[in-house]
Symmetry: C2
Subunit: 163 residues, 2 copies
Amino acid sequence: MSTRARNTPLSLVAQPGIRVLTYGTFDLFHIGHLRLLERLRALGDHLTVAVSTDEFNARKGKQAFIPFRDRLDIVSSLRCVDAVIAEHDWAQKREDIRRLGIDVFGMGDDWVGKFDELSDIARVVYLERTPDISSSAIKQSLRAHAPDGAVATSLPTPLARAS
Amino acid sequence: MSTRARNTPLSLVAQPGIRVLTYGTFDLFHIGHLRLLERLRALGDHLTVAVSTDEFNARKGKQAFIPFRDRLDIVSSLRCVDAVIAEHDWAQKREDIRRLGIDVFGMGDDWVGKFDELSDIARVVYLERTPDISSSAIKQSLRAHAPDGAVATSLPTPLARAS
């Protein structure tokens, strides 16, 4: 064993690295969600995703189509996601950032400017969303089409985009 | 270093283990897909998922709502999935099993008995599906509900199940 090797102990604890945090409902999980989460993960070494509970959505006047537990389990099954937590309240973000040692707070660019107030404790970034796809677009497009589920490929539907 | 340690070389090549293969469209990715894939992966050490192309679905008279490329990318982003391939044709299964060195061919139990002919070259299993959820059920339920996407939780809709 060389002197160099003896003097270079293996680290048994992972280096802390850059920790990223985001929030969302992730209803009807789609490629736009995945692309955003993968790009957020690429900003650091660890990605925590906070998934809105059904109760919190109800307080916001929203209702996800897929129950919270299923949305949480799908997000946590992704290779690019290191941890998941529940989002119960608007006010928890600042506490989450401190508690989880977050370096980067990232959201889709539909939220530009909305979380700048957190920039005193984290780097706040807004990433471009995948064009023409969202949970709402999927719901609207499904409702607009024939009962057999067919989507006419010649129609300019949200999901007939190039991919 | 003990004699035992010297005589026990570290394997630098992963043991081959049990390789599992399944097929599907995975339209509107949902918790039933995830549960099935996780349970298939648990049958072995490596899971390959064959995702039906849009052209193949068209030949079957089906049309997925989500384009092939997006369905493929979502499935391949899962921690429980080790590899993805495209499904182009009914006849490819036997060749895939041989080419990929598959030990277990697994499908949901909506296919019971349909692939028993492959049992001469692989163990064929049919796993119970998650009750009350499917891509078709999601589409039907979305179409049946109000334009704002709300699902009345008191209704016996496919997605109002316990989770």
